[in-house]
């Protein structure tokens, strides 16, 4: 009897950047298309930490295979003294992969992370609230930053359900106290930005990812405001926004906006790093045509 083919993912080797994780996910999906009966080994040895926004991408890639009818099974390797497996267990990484880990990993009383959550139309508001509550309770976040994050995250979560043509998205978030920063990743296995925008436009792939942060660029179902607001907020906050879709990755920061080619991602990922202590002026992205409209409608506000 033939020995099953094994595919090994060395977490230490792939945990360098979003690009390396995306590449690994692409390789994994390609391998399983050719070898659907392969067994996977995920090797967590020699590494003590993995950013939650990395782990959710690997999870989404495996979920994508599952959606295609390819059941991924195998095992994990880890050192019992390493902290990475308890950490990933606490953020539900293994739960969603149906991997049983021996031992109990108790939740910390003051969680600075929001577990990986699958969300849909029915629990979207509850999921958002859980993220905002954890951030508010565990950080000294500036009020304007908090309101802006609330606004932008609402729009990002809603984008997945309204534009990606899938019914579910995935989200994870963590507050890093020493860096005064929050890292958030929202990912889906939907149609991606290029296909979505080209319901109304005729963009190349690079044009679509570069234009999606411009005000008013939409597929016709929305107003093209969510990613514009998020990119404006990110620049003011000196944070970081990455959009990954298809073979393109757009990075937005205070200093530059640039596009790179990456391995293919079957959907869209939105990564946001927010500085909790860098104030922002929300008027810059909440006040389209406000000046002239204010005169028309100010009497309606008491």
């Amino acid at each position: 009897m033939d020995k099953p083919i094994t595919y090994i993912i060395d977490i230490k080797k792939i945990s360098n950047s979003h690009e390396t994780i995306i590449q690994s996910c692409y390789n994994l999906i390609g391998y399983y298309h050719k070898n659907p009966d392969a067994k996977i080994i995920i090797d967590f040895r020699n590494i003590d930490f993995m950013y939650p926004d990395y782990s959710i991408l690997l999870l989404c890639a495996i979920k994508h295979l599952d959606k295609l009818g390819i059941k991924v099974s195998g095992r994990i390797r880890y050192n019992t003294k390493s902290s990475i497996v308890p950490y990933l267990a606490r953020i539900n990484f293994f739960k969603y992969l149906n991997i049983q880990i021996p031992g109990e990993f108790k939740r910390l009383e003051n969680n600075r992370f929001v577990e990986i959550q699958e969300y849909n139309e029915n629990n979207q508001i509850k999921v958002l609230k859980s993220i905002l509550t954890v951030i508010k309770e565990n950080s000294l976040i500036n009020d304007n930053v908090f309101a802006s994050l609330d606004y932008c995250l609402n729009e990002i979560l809603d984008n997945v359900l309204n534009h990606s043509e899938v019914k579910v998205g995935w989200v994870v978030a963590q507050y890093f106290e020493k860096m005064n920063a929050i890292r958030i990743m929202v990912a889906d296995n939907g149609i991606g930005i290029h296909k979505s925008l080209n319901k109304r436009h005729n963009f190349s792939e690079i044009d679509s990812i570069e234009n999606c942060i411009n005000s008013g660029v939409t597929n016709g179902l929305g107003q093209g405001h969510g990613l514009y607001a998020t990119s404006t907020f990110t620049k003011m906050n000196k944070g970081w926004l990455s959009l990954i879709s298809g073979n393109k990755k757009l990075d937005v920061s205070e200093k530059y906006t640039k596009t790179n080619t990456v391995s293919f991602w079957q959907g869209t990922c939105v990564y946001l790093r927010v500085n909790t202590n860098v104030d922002v002026d929300y008027k810059k992205f909440t006040s389209n045509h406000f000046d002239y409209k204010e005169q028309l409608f100010e009497d309606m506000f008491k």
Partner: protein, 89 residues
């Protein structure tokens, strides 16, 4: 009669397009049986552009201008919410 819709009972963060559409229908329903509607944002922190457009922007276009302005008032809206709503109208 004047009816008040307390948005805090819906949530402190109002963000989804679907929710905006549902509330717009509820507002239109209440307008049929009330002379005035107060939309109360006490203890609401954030309203998004998607929500405001779907709810208030489309409400504005579905009602005659005079009726929209005379029957509806927004109360206790913070600066953030005021800006988003006015921009959506």
């Amino acid at each position: 009669m004047t009816h008040t819709i307390k948005f805090r009972e819906i949530g402190s963060s109002l963000g989804t397009r679907n929710l905006g559409a549902k509330i717009r229908l509820s507002i239109l329903d209440k307008l049929e049986s009330n002379e005035r509607l107060l939309l109360d944002f006490d203890q609401v922190n954030v309203v998004t552009n998607s929500f405001a457009n779907e709810c208030f922007g489309k409400l504005r276009t579905s009602l005659p201008e005079n009726e929209f302005k005379s029957k509806i008032s927004f109360i206790n809206a913070n600066d953030f919410i005021q800006r988003v709503i006015i921009s959506a109208l």
